[in-house]
């Protein structure tokens, strides 16, 4: 359905604030919501229901799909309003790649037309190249405008959007628009060969006299060069604008993340497990038991003034008698050899008390134990009654025992 331009612009003229609100509304909008906006932004002498009807008749609002109760602002109207309010929508790298691809296709067609000397086809290809270049130029400008507006908004915005969210948004702009665009338009990117090929063919068209509108041809050649240089400059400038903001937000985001991690760890695991990795060390020199200057001076003076005296004398003379414990140990150590020469011994205890009558009871028992458990000897009880053996300081009661070699 065609829209009457006069009706359309008359309506727009009397409903500018409403149109602005509708344009700002993201996504789909219902009848209820639209009428609410109409009531907030009323037009003189018009019922909200009438405004709602006119919005649909003039195709300012169009259904999201046939029969739907939800509406969208028509794309041409959105673009017109954006244009009027000096707003810009960034072109995506895919769009620019699409233009480059379209340019490549057109130049191939132009190449074939020149080979075939098809003047009509050359003119059409020429027109297409012009249009593509104009679109690229316009979209580059609009993208630059959008990026600069976004940067300005970040710098002035004081809303309570967290640093991390801001960082994510700026990273989005950087990674979605600026860097990929630079990849496309830089001197070794895909834009340059497409432009060079187009320029070569335009020159060829002129040389072969297949296209006689020389001023238009010259204009297109100039435009080709201008767009190439302009594209790189635009996105280099955008990167320069956005880079400091990106760096600042990146740093802030990392700082915020570190603090959040530290607090989260404390919250979930408590102070006992927080660990020293989250603490910021501070030098705390504690001087304990440190002598004062006066004490050091006094000590030094005592050292200096101490009267000389001979070093202490150490007694190095050898003791005349062996210690008793050593004598006892040596006796015990000698027993296996002594008894080894006279084996078998028919009554070990009797032999010990008769051979060593001066040894006391503890020494006799120690000798008895040593010989009974010695690895070279084998001890066996004799089937006799218990005997009493007299020692130097007492007596020992025991069953007789034969000691033999193993």
């Amino acid at each position: 359905m065609k829209v009457n331009p006069q009706s359309f612009f008359n309506f727009c003229a009397s409903h500018t604030s409403l149109l602005r609100k509708l344009a700002e509304h993201d996504g789909e909008i219902s009848e209820f919501e639209t009428i609410r906006l109409v009531r907030i932004n009323p037009a003189i002498e018009e019922l909200p229901e009438t405004t709602w009807r006119r919005l649909r008749e003039l195709q300012i609002l169009v259904p999201t799909e046939p029969g739907s109760d939800l509406y969208l602002m028509a794309e041409p109207v959105s673009r017109l309003l954006a244009y009027l309010s000096n707003e810009a929508n960034a072109a995506t790298p895919e769009m620019i790649r699409g233009y480059v691809s379209s340019l490549e296709t057109t130049t191939k067609r132009l190449d074939r037309s020149l080979d075939d000397q098809d003047i009509q086809e050359v003119a059409l290809a020429f027109e297409e190249i012009s249009q593509t270049l104009r679109r690229i130029h316009a979209d580059l400008n609009e993208t630059q405008h959008a990026i600069l507006a976004e940067v300005a908004r970040y710098k002035t915005e004081r809303s309570r959007v967290s640093v991390r969210q801001k960082y994510q948004r700026i990273v989005h702009w950087m990674e979605r628009y600026v860097e990929p665009m630079i990849e496309i338009v830089r001197s070794d990117g895909p834009l340059r060969p497409a432009f060079e090929e187009a320029e070569r063919l335009l020159h060829r068209a002129r040389e072969e006299a297949l296209f006689n509108d020389h001023p238009a041809l010259a204009r297109n050649l100039r435009f080709l060069r201008l767009v190439g240089v302009h594209a790189l400059r635009v996105f280099t400038q955008c990167r320069k604008e956005i880079q400091p903001l990106y760096e600042s937000l990146r740093r802030s985001s990392f700082i915020a993340e570190g603090a959040a991690r530290a607090l989260e760890k404390l919250q979930t695991e408590g102070l006992a497990k927080w660990g020293s990795e989250y603490l910021i060390g501070i030098a705390m020199e504690r001087y304990q038991n440190v002598p004062s200057d006066a004490a050091i001076a006094l000590t030094l003076r005592r050292i200096v003034e101490h009267p000389p005296e001979p070093p202490p004398f150490l007694e190095f003379a050898i003791e005349k008698e062996n210690p008793l414990a050593l004598v006892r140990l040596r006796w015990l150590d000698s027993l296996p050899d002594t008894v080894g020469g006279i084996l078998p011994v028919s009554d070990l205890m009797a032999w010990l008390v008769s051979t060593y009558p001066d040894r006391d009871t503890s020494e006799i028992v120690a000798a008895f134990g040593l010989l009974v458990f010695h690895r070279d000897f084998h001890a066996t009880f004799v089937d006799e009654a218990q005997h009493t053996y007299a020692t130097s300081d007492g007596e020992v009661k025991a069953f007789p025992l034969i000691l033999a070699s193993t």
Binding site: R164, I280, G281
Partner: protein, 182 residues
């Protein structure tokens, strides 16, 4: 070496954990002859650190027992950074470009922060004031009257620590994501 200016006062302040920044009168001497001072203190077994943001402090040792002050200062500082992040402004701009009203601090007014502070035995405004006094003693803040204070440059130590934590977490994440060859 004997001609090092303010040597006694510099040593006396640094050894007690103070951070010397541009607000201190000894700063310019330290800044101009950093190498000389560093050499002098090195002979005493003390390492003089020059932070990239241009302030000075003694390298802390690692005591077996951590003083109660350190976790308190850390939690207080992390909270201010977290709060700054939620305001949507660059952290450094938020921290260093304004004077803070003590009663308007978020530390006790937000339940989550108050709970974190309770973990380090900071319960009320009296404790906050004590904490601020301790931070002033180490040169991280300067009190303005009874009710206000501002952060000084050495507070960058907290921001550096935050960056260190993030970097270490990211490194650990990269290591965890790297498949192990078998």
């Amino acid at each position: 070496m004997n001609e090092l200016p303010h040597l006694a006062s510099i040593f006396d302040r640094l050894r007690r954990g103070y951070h010397l920044g541009p607000d201190d009168e000894q700063f310019s001497a330290l800044s101009e002859r950093y190498d000389d001072y560093a050499r002098y203190f090195e002979a005493l077994g003390l390492k003089l650190i020059r932070h990239p943001r241009e302030f000075f402090y003694f390298e802390p040792d690692n005591p077996e027992t951590v003083p109660d002050t350190l976790p308190r200062i850390a939690v207080f500082s992390y909270i201010i950074v977290d709060h700054a992040a939620n305001q949507g402004r660059p952290i450094e701009e938020f921290v260093f470009d304004q004077v803070f009203l003590i009663t308007a601090l978020p530390h006790l007014s937000m339940d989550r922060y108050a709970a974190l502070l309770r973990d380090v035995e900071v319960f009320d405004m009296g404790h906050i004031n004590t904490l601020l006094n301790q931070m002033e003693r180490i040169g991280w803040i300067r009190r303005i009257g009874e009710d206000e204070f501002r952060f000084l440059r050495p507070f960058h130590r907290v921001l550096s620590k935050c960056l260190e934590i993030t970097q270490s977490a990211q490194t650990a994440q990269v290591a965890a994501d790297t498949p192990v060859e078998t």
